[in-house]
């Protein structure tokens, strides 16, 4: 099975990364989400697969001898929730960027990188809170 999942992981990574390289910000975020999925599956698979033996101690028993490794599950759980929060924020950030800058084409979001031209008559920038 892990071979099968390895393929799935590869595909998810590929698609995720590809989407992240798109120009449409929305696609970039979709890529990020896929990447998150891929990683969770990676952790899950790398943590070794155990079919249908959840780490639940059955009534009567006092401990588990044989079960799926609970730790990767806990880690992924944490990761999922974290990435939910992050995704939510990123989405809203994208939305705000679009409403304020009027574009979600990443190629048009280069002003903070490239060195601004200088026109002596250009008015002084008046940003907020310095």
């Amino acid at each position: 099975m892990s071979l099968l999942l390895a393929i799935v992981i590869g595909v998810l990574f590929t698609v995720g990364l590809y989407m992240m390289m798109r120009r449409s910000l929305t696609k970039v975020l979709i890529g990020l989400m896929l990447l998150g999925q891929a990683i969770n599956l990676l952790i899950f698979t790398a943590g070794r697969l155990e079919r249908a033996s959840p780490p639940l101690i059955p009534p009567g028993a006092s401990e588990l001898t044989h079960s799926a490794d609970p730790l990767p599950q806990a880690l992924i759980l944490t990761a999922i929730v974290i990435s939910f929060g992050v995704t939510a924020f990123a989405l809203v950030l994208a939305r705000q960027t679009y409403t304020v800058l009027g574009t979600n084409d990443m190629n048009e979001l280069r002003d903070t990188d490239i060195i601004p031209r200088y026109h002596p008559e250009m008015p002084h920038e008046e940003e907020e809170g310095l």
Partner: protein, 497 residues
């Protein structure tokens, strides 16, 4: 009760308090001072304790290592924590006038404390996945702080900052998953032991490379630094100063941690790569700075360049090298945060960050000139300021290892650093103000809350020079602990419950 926990508990507590005081901005400001002061105290106390009685560690919930999560502070961590406290407090002071009411009314201070919490957690944890969690706390806080206010530039910068840093987190997480699968543990001390027994070392080296890239992005090394110059100049100066002081440093801290504790199976390979990347980072960073006119952008590139020095010390992988990295880090934080704060004051006095729009400050603002010159010359490594001793330590370490090329590069870069600091000096201070520049507004910039933090950091730079022995001695002891993981391992796996 344990000092190790204090930084985390204090920051959470103040997150909660500032949340509760949501609409009472005055209260929030007061709380911010109290909280960051408390953090500083805790950090200093811990530093004292650690340098007294060696590495301290504690097990959260009393679950024994390696099963529970370990908090551990060696001298390196303790130093970083103390610095964090200092930078935090000074930023809080600067923020009193540096951050406007509306940002405060929209959660600035909860985010501020969350950032500090993340940073402290990262410095304290002895568990690789827990480190990931703290990274995320820090990042999430920085995301919001970066975008808080929603100015056009902020949003644009934040987008790139967020996406590229999330890529790093993704890599970090994947690497951790694989690491667990290979070693079966997350406790770093335990990992250090188990990774030595791993049958096929190439898998460990591969994981090491994943971490190198993941942390490398956070630390803004070449060729992974792009997010930093793209975004650091967009938020208010108080925020940038905080970031420049702490964020990339956490990345470097993590690099140092894993490449002195975990990934030692193939030092010849891994640490050579670190050296090469370090050299490239220095050069590319300083050249980037040379091309800029906006003071904040210029300084942002210097952050990158300085990271190169830190990487070099790590790449040398000797006690002297690590010591110089640690000393340099302390120096760099003080110098660069100071410079950002001064840039903010210059902006308030002269109306712009753009060197082409301002000038004439030398004649009319001698104190501002002095305020700038101290950290600037220190950053350029001029004696007798802290930067010189950092540079000296690095040169010594490099020559001892016969890394002549690296030493040459680092020296040339320090000359270029001087060049670009002088550029600011000549444009903003010496050059007469352009015709269309607005009149200087001294009152705007010269508020105690703005000047004192910058001054304090400048003084730190002087004191680190005057008492270089104390500073470097401490760094040297910290390095000694890093170069010999046995101490760390003993402190964690020996201690516990």
């Amino acid at each position: 009760m344990d000092l190790l926990l204090l930084p985390l508990l204090i920051s959470v507590l103040f997150i909660i308090l500032t949340l509760l005081a949501w609409n009472r901005t005055r209260w929030q400001r007061i709380l911010s001072l109290a909280g960051s002061a408390a953090l500083l105290l805790a950090g200093v106390a811990l530093l004292a304790q650690v340098s007294q009685s060696g590495i301290r560690s504690t097990q959260i919930g009393g679950w024994p290592a390696p099963f529970g999560i370990t908090l551990v502070a060696d001298l390196f961590s303790a130093i970083m924590l103390a610095i964090t406290g200092l930078v935090g407090l000074l930023s809080a002071v600067y923020a009193l006038d540096g951050i406007d009411e509306r940002r405060v009314a929209h959660g600035f201070y909860p985010l501020f404390f969350a950032l500090l919490m993340g940073v402290c957690g990262a410095f304290l944890t002895g568990d690789i996945f827990n480190l990931y969690v703290w990274f995320e706390v820090m990042l999430m806080a920085s995301f919001v702080l970066m975008a808080l206010g929603g100015e056009r530039a902020q949003l644009e910068g934040a987008i790139k900052y967020v996406i590229l840093n999330l890529t790093a987190s993704a890599l970090f997480l994947s690497a951790t998953g694989i690491l667990y699968s290979v070693a079966g543990t997350l406790n770093m001390a335990d990992l250090s032991l188990r990774l030595r027994e791993v049958s096929s070392p190439e898998i460990v080296t591969t994981i090491a490379m994943l971490y190198l890239v993941a942390f490398g992005i956070k630390a803004a090394i070449f060729p992974l630094f792009f997010w930093l110059p793209a975004s650091y100049h967009t938020p208010p100066v108080a925020v940038t100063a905080l970031f420049s002081g702490l964020l990339t440093k956490v990345g470097v801290y993590s690099l140092v941690r894993v490449f002195t504790l975990l990934f030692l199976s193939d030092v010849a390979f891994t640490h050579t790569i670190l050296l090469v990347l370090g050299g490239l980072t220095m050069v590319v960073g300083v050249l980037g700075a040379a091309a800029q006119y906006d003071m904040r952008r210029l300084l942002s590139f210097h952050i990158v360049s300085q990271i190169g020095y830190l990487l070099m010390g790590l790449g040398l992988y000797t006690q002297a090298g690590l010591a110089s990295t640690i000393f340099f880090m302390a120096h760099g934080i003080a110098a660069k945060s100071a410079l950002f704060l001064v840039a903010g004051i210059i902006r308030r006095v002269s109306g712009s960050f753009d060197l082409r729009r301002i000038g004439g400050l030398y004649r009319d603002q001698p104190w501002l000139a002095l305020l700038f010159l101290l950290p600037a010359l220190s950053l350029a490594g001029l004696p007798p300021l802290s930067g010189f001793f950092g540079k000296l330590a690095l040169v010594r370490a490099g020559l001892e290892q016969e890394q002549y090329l690296m030493v040459a590069v680092s020296l040339v870069v320090s000359l270029l650093t001087l060049f670009s600091m002088i550029k600011i000096w000549m444009e903003a201070f010496w050059k007469p103000a352009p015709a269309q520049a607005p009149p200087q507004r001294r009152s705007e910039g010269f508020k105690a809350s703005l000047v004192l933090p910058a001054l304090a950091l400048g003084l730190v730079s002087i004191l680190l020079g005057v008492w270089a022995q104390a500073g470097y001695g401490l760094a040297d002891r910290a390095a000694a602990a890093l170069i010999d993981p046995a101490l760390y391992i003993a402190a964690v796996l020996g201690g516990g419950r």
